[in-house]
Amino acid sequence: MSRTPKVTPWNPTRQKGAYDLFIAAVGFEKRARYIAESLVIHANYRFACAFPDRKTHHYGENLDWYTRAGYIVDEVSDSEFGSWCRTVLSAIRPNAFQTRRICIDVSSLNRFRIAVLIDTLRNLDWEAQIDVAFLYSLAQFSLPPREAAPNRHVGPVMPSFSGWTLEPDRPPVAIVGLGYEEDKALGAVEHIQAASVWTFLPESINDPYMDAVRRANKTLLETIPPAQQLMYPVHRPFDSFVLLESLIQRIVRSNSPVLLPFGPKMFSVCALLVACLYPSSSVWRVSAGPEGEAIDRVPTGLVYGLQTTFLTSHSEIEQDMQYQLSVPF
């Protein structure tokens, strides 16, 4: 049985002592090393995974920086990433019941890798408690992709986030974190033939981004009742998590939630953590894979985080199943 995540706010001023492990990504975005470089993360082990594709923009300088800074850098494909995560985590496997502290910079990880990491963490067979800080470096506004490449994957982000409903006759409801790719959310919602749609609009200090999100989703938003258009604060991930979790708690009583986290990656983290709590919900990914346009992201200097403890308790999972079973005919 997998662990249950317990999510709390991340407070940078209370981060004392070294982490056991820090995981970052060597991506092509300028922000890929911002957290590692500016926050000076102290950790006993520091790993950075590099991508075998799209070695463009700042990839070369990021690779140099991580290597010179003493990180263990491995180039791994998506299909190898699960195995890489297990290897990296085995470096800090505790001997006794000591808590392990991990920090993960999700800014330049793709959504599949974020899912694999969370899935690996929740399935660790250690006795120890695992505390994880998910950090995210907010980027400056950059223009959306000029041309959408065809999707290679539309479906659950990975098999273990497919969800499992006990009542397959319950229609799917889409919970969509909006991004700024034109009509991407609309297409996904139409594709899954959602019975109903809830949207999450990122409320960002980055005004042009919010405007771009609204523009890109104009057609979709016109058809959603205002009460089902929610805003979430990008700069307060814990509040976003609570908002999302409370909505899913309600939806699982009568529908199968399908979470589509486009937009800022911290929302993907929230969606995946919520799905860990409510196994009837699934998290989907719509991706063009490595053929998607590589857009550089420049850091704003703002870093947000979410603190998560992966517990071995199953109480909340059982609660979800009870919800599903208790709905009267």
Binding site: P150, P156, L166, D169, L186
Partner: protein, 625 residues
């Protein structure tokens, strides 16, 4: 009696989201429903949104008990079976596919996915039984029966034994919940087997007897026992499978084979998309294939020709006005007449082609602006300013025939005098030529989801009921519907295609075909019989076929069957298709069938798309037209 919950726009487009009683609120019986209620096996075929789910849901008891239409009693009297609706959707399909997180061997995965589906079927049977014995008051009680407590206990004991299940208490409701728990159990088995590994797996799974139940046999024990206890021995039950292509392949194959069984306690009503791998079982030449007209009937929920959509759209139109409390008016009274049609009342001289008619103006304008059209008219001896004087044979064989082409060409083609080095498209923001009742109906393709989306919005915004809905508003809503549809097409995952290049998928392929047809009608020299349909070449590559299959099932291309009996395809090769009219306002296409052209020819001609034509198989003797 209105449902307490008003559907949102997404819910109202999608019958799956609605309770059967909500579906019944606005349901208008059609010839399709008339065919479906017959006491026979039926395959309902149609692309997404074509109304398959609505039709099946209207055979459920809850729907029939809430249905208030004038003909409802007549239909209720014809239905002497119990409908069991087995819902499926993309996310449930993905869940079954993901059992064991992709780490189980194929045999174990198949066993567990079939067991999950079987559990879902049995649960649906119990839900239908609970409806039969319900005591809640309804408007039109239908086929309700009484099952005594003793009989219910006996029934549950029989089923618990047969299905290897232990409900907490001997009631049907508890049995239903136990089946939900079994679904949970199946997932746990899958996860556990991943952890335990392959060694000994076959034996472990073999010992779990409930994993090996056959869904038809298990369901028939339930229905026969129920029938006996309520004194209806031999009564029929109808298993209705929605979105059959999302079920595990083995289940699909079993159901197709089951259509041949004549002594089954079950009737089958299967909803399928036009393309399905299972259709290969309908094409077997060994005499084992179920035969249309003999073993089952087919209902096609799409229309190759636009005229066929009118009756369905008209009835839906009436229902939508009624639902909104708007007194009935014929569609042209509110939407106006189609731009493409020519009506006698349009001019003083009683002919649709008189000097002041819209058609005459278009012919004259185009002749003035387009030298190739002028030459064509001259060849035919037609004076565009005296169209009504054209002899009847030529009027029928030429003028009427090209009239809709002229309308599109005149609207979208810039005058020759404005061209510099090449023919220009006119910049037209609003596709108002598609406004008007007949055109709007054609653009909707008779697809209820699209029709409700377009007309629903128009009626919502229609404030001045003394006036027609402006053509601009109609064009805007049709374009929005087309954009929504395009967004969905863009989302469909596509395999890498060497021919199309890495940046193109299903939507790009559709665009290439649509642009070719638009050029045929608007940009190239005028011809009276442009190609507006395409055939898929026998040597079409697998990646292209996959994209076309997806486009067909989504409704982006429409199959034009040569034989009425061949509605479900297991291969698209050598078949003929047209682009859906829902896309016509985006690409400037006429709403009519035309000549056919091979797909390879279209792709070769799509020079602006930068395709890698070296990837296009060459067939000796094939013309480039």
């Amino acid at each position: 009696m209105r449902a307490p919950h008003a559907p949102t726009i997404f819910e109202s487009f999608n019958a799956r989201a609605l309770k059967p009683s909500q579906v019944a609120e606005t349901f208008v019986p059609s010839k399709h429903y008339d065919q479906l209620v017959n006491r026979n096996n039926t395959i309902v075929v149609g692309p997404r949104g074509s109304g398959k789910t609505t039709l099946l849901k209207m055979l459920q008891q809850q729907a029939l008990e809430a249905w208030e239409h004038g003909e409802a009693d007549l239909f209720r009297s014809r239905i002497d079976y119990t409908g069991v609706f087995i819902a499926t959707d993309l996310s449930w399909g993905a869940q079954i596919q993901a059992l064991g997180d992709g780490k189980l061997d194929p045999e174990s995965h198949k066993l567990l996915s079939i067991a999950a589906f079987t559990t879902h079927v049995l649960r649906s049977v119990i839900i239908a039984m609970l409806q039969r014995i319900a005591t809640t008051p309804v408007s039109y009680p239908f086929r309700r029966v009484t099952l005594t407590n003793t009989d219910e206990v006996q029934l549950v004991k029989i089923l618990a034994d047969a299905w290897h299940i232990q409900p907490l208490i001997p009631s049907l409701l508890s049995l239903k919940q136990s089946l939900s728990v079994r679904l949970l159990h199946i997932r746990e088995i899958a996860s556990s087997e991943v952890t335990r590994g392959e060694s000994g797996r076959a034996n472990r799974l073999a010992e779990m007897t409930f994993l090996h139940s056959h869904f038809v046999e298990a369901a028939s024990i339930a229905t026969e026992s129920f029938n006996d206890l309520i004194g209806e021995s031999g009564a029929r039950w109808t298993l209705m499978f929605d979105e059959l292509e999302l079920a595990p392949e083995w289940i699909q194959d079993e159901l197709i084979r089951s259509l041949r069984t004549t002594d089954s306690v079950f009737l089958y009503k299967l909803a399928m998309s036009p393309f399905s791998y299972s259709a290969r079982l309908l094409e077997l030449k060994s005499g084992k294939a179920p035969v249309v007209g003999q073993d089952f009937e087919q209902i096609a929920l799409w229309y190759a020709e636009k005229q066929q959509t009118y009756e369905f759209c008209y009835n839906l139109w009436k229902a939508m006005l009624r639902e909104r409390g708007i007194p009935h008016r014929d569609p042209p009274k509110i939407l106006g007449r189609s731009y493409f049609e020519n009506y006698e009342e349009d001019n003083r001289r009683g002919s649709g082609y008189g000097p002041e008619s819209r058609a005459a103006e278009r012919f004259a304008t185009l002749a003035q602006n387009d030298v190739t059209f002028r030459h064509y008219l001259m060849e035919k001896g037609i004076n565009p300013s005296k169209l009504d004087e054209v002899p009847k044979p030529i009027m029928d064989s030429v003028v009427r025939k090209i009239s809709s082409l002229v309308a599109v060409r005149e609207y979208y083609r810039a005058p020759d005098r404005e061209r510099t080095r090449q023919i220009k498209r006119r910049t037209r923001k609003a596709a108002i030529i598609y406004a008007g009742a007949e055109s709007l109906f054609a653009v909707s393709e008779g697809n209820p989801r699209w029709f409700i989306a377009i007309v629903g919005r128009l009626l919502e915004d229609w404030l001045d009921e003394g006036r027609k809905i402006p053509a601009e508003d109609q064009a805007r809503e049709m374009k929005k519907a087309a954009q929504r549809f395009s967004a969905m097409l863009r989302t469909i995952p596509a395999p890498p295609s060497k021919l199309l290049g890495t940046n193109r998928g299903v939507l790009s392929l559709i665009q290439a075909i649509a642009h070719y047809f638009h050029d045929q009608v608007v940009m190239n020299n005028f011809i009276a019989e442009p190609s507006l349909t395409f055939t898929v070449d026998p040597n079409t590559t697998e990646d292209m076929l996959y994209m076309l299959e997806q486009a067909l099932n989504a409704g982006a291309v429409v199959y034009i069957p040569e034989e009425e009996s061949e509605l479900i395809l297991s291969s698209l090769r050598s078949k003929r298709f047209r682009i859906s009219y829902i896309l016509a306002p985006l690409y400037g296409l006429p709403l009519r069938l035309g000549e056919q052209v091979s797909l390879n020819t279209i792709l070769r001609a799509s020079t602006d798309m930068d395709f890698d034509l070296s990837e296009l198989p060459f067939v000796a003797g094939e013309s480039n037209e």
